[in-house]
Amino acid sequence: MLRLDVSKQLGDFKLEAAFESEGRVTGLFGSSGAGKTSLINMIAGLLRPDRGSIAIDGEVLDDTANRVHIPAHRRRIGYVFQDFRLFPHLDVGENLDYGRRMNGLAEDSVRRKRVTDLLDIGDLLDRRPGKLSGGERQRVALGRALLAQPRLLLLDEPLGSLDEERKEEILPYLVRLRDEAGIPMVYVSHDAAELRQLATQIVMLKRGRVTVFGGVKVLSGAQ
C-alpha cells in the first residue's frame, strides 16, 4: 500500500497532493504540468517534499515532521523513465545486471531468464543501447528496473516518446508485466485510453492537486 501526503513549492507552482492506494496499478492521470512527474520523483526519493510524508506498506520513506528522508538508492523503488536512460557505456546485459550488482543481490539466472523472456530481450544482451530501437530501449529499461527487485515500480509516461506503432508494440508487455510480475505499479500518463487498459485505480491530478480518486470508471469522459 502506498500512502502519500506531501506539498512542495516548485517556482510558482505548488504541488499539494494526498492519496492512499491499494491498487495493483495506480494510474496517475493529468495533463502536462499537473505535477505528475514531480510527484513520482518524490516517491522515488529524487525530490524532497517541503512538508508531508510518504510510506509504502507501513514503512516511512519521507516524514518531514520527524526529519526522515530515505535516499533514493535505499528505497528499492524501480523507475522507468519516459526517456529510457539506459547507460550508454554498458551493453544490454550489463544494463540489466546493474541493479542486482548495486543492491548486492546474488546472481539469479532463473529470474533473469523469466524477465528477458517476458520482455523478449534475450537476443539483445550483447548490444549497446545506441544500437536499439525506441521500443527495444523501453523494454530493456523495464527489464533493468524489474531485475533490481523493487517493491514498487514507477512508470513515467513509458510510451510517451514512442510513435503509435511502437506504443502498440509495448502495451502488451506492460499488460503482461501487470499480470505476471506481481509488483505494484504507479503508472503516469496523460492518455486516458492507455490508463483504461492498464490501471486498476486512478488518481487524477490537476494543477498540483488531487481532484478525483477512484476506479478506472472515473476516466469516463476524460480524453
Binding site: A44, G45, L46, P71, A72, H73, R74, R75, R76, I77, G78, Y79, F81, D83, R85, F87, P88, H89, D91, Y98, G99, M102, N103, R127, R128, P129, G130, K131, R144, A145, A148
Partner: protein, 231 residues
C-alpha cells in the same frame, strides 16, 4: 649529430619520470577537484576555482618562489614534512615533480571538469533508483562516461609537466642528475659555448615526446568514444 650523450639521457629520463609521477599523483586529486567544481555547490567554491587556476596566470617564477617558501627546507610545510615524514622537496627531483604537478594542475582539471559537467545527470538519477549509493554512481556511471576528458586532461597535464621550466628551476634549481630536466638542460646548453648541437638534439627529443603525447591522446579519445557509442 644524433649520438645522445649520457648527460642528455639523464635529463630525458628524469623529465619523463618527473612528468609521469606528477601526472599520476595529480590525477586522482584533479578528478576530485573537478567533481567538486562540476557537481557541488559549497561555500568558498569561487576561491577553490581561483586557486586551481592561479598557476596558469601567475608568473612561473612566482609560483616557484612560493613553493620554495612553503615546501623548502625552512618552509612552513617543508620543514614539518622533512622532520616528521622524511619527505624533502627542495633541490630534489621530487620537488621538480611537485612544481610540475602544481603548474600542470589547471590544465589537468579543466577537461575533466568539462567532461563531468557533460555527463547527463538523469543517468546518475537512474543509477540511484537502481540502488547505487552516491560513490558507486560516481565510479560506475559518472567516471566511465567522463573518461575521455580524464585522459585528455592527463595528456595535457603530462605535456605541460614535460615542458615546465620557470617554477621548476626557481624551486629546485638546475642540478644535473637530480633536477635537470630537458628544459633546464637546454637552457644550460644554449648558454654554454659549443652547446648548440646538444641543445638541438634535446629540442628534437622534446618535439618527439610532445607529438607522441598528442597522438596518444587522440588515440585514447577515439577509443573511449567508440566504447561509449558501442560499435
Amino acid at each position: 649529430m644524433f649520438d645522445i650523450s649520457p648527460t642528455e639521457w639523464t635529463a630525458i629520463l628524469l623529465s619523463l619520470r618527473v612528468a609521469s609521477i606528477a601526472t599520476l599523483v595529480a590525477t586522482p586529486l584533479g578528478i576530485a577537484v573537478a567533481w567538486l567544481l562540476a557537481r557541488r555547490d559549497f561555500w568558498g567554491k569561487a576561491v577553490v576555482d581561483a586557486l586551481v587556476h592561479l598557476p596558469l596566470v601567475l608568473p612561473p617564477v612566482v609560483t616557484g618562489y612560493l613553493l620554495l617558501l612553503t615546501f623548502g627546507r625552512r618552509g612552513l610545510v617543508g620543514e614539518w614534512l622533512a622532520d616528521h615524514l622524511g619527505i624533502v622537496f627542495a633541490f630534489r627531483w621530487t620537488g621538480a615533480a611537485l612544481a610540475c604537478g602544481v603548474m600542470s594542475f589547471p590544465l589537468l582539471v579543466r577537461p575533466i571538469r568539462l567532461s563531468i559537467e557533460a555527463v547527463d545527470r538523469r543517468l546518475e538519477q537512474a543509477a540511484s533508483t537502481l540502488g547505487a549509493a552516491p560513490w558507486r554512481v560516481f565510479t560506475s556511471v559518472t567516471l566511465p562516461l567522463a573518461l575521455p576528458g580524464v585522459l585528455a586532461g592527463m595528456v595535457l597535464g603530462f605535456a605541460k609537466a614535460i615542458g615546465e621550466f620557470g617554477a621548476t628551476i626557481t624551486f629546485v634549481s638546475n642540478i644535473p642528475g637530480e633536477t635537470q630536466t630537458i628544459s633546464s638542460a637546454i637552457y644550460a646548453l644554449i648558454s654554454t659555448p659549443d652547446g648548440d648541437a646538444a641543445a638541438l638534439r634535446l629540442v628534437i627529443v622534446s618535439v618527439v615526446i610532445a607529438m607522441g603525447a598528442l597522438i596518444a591522446s587522440e588515440w585514447f579519445a577515439r577509443r573511449a568514444t567508440r566504447r561509449l557509442h558501442g560499435s
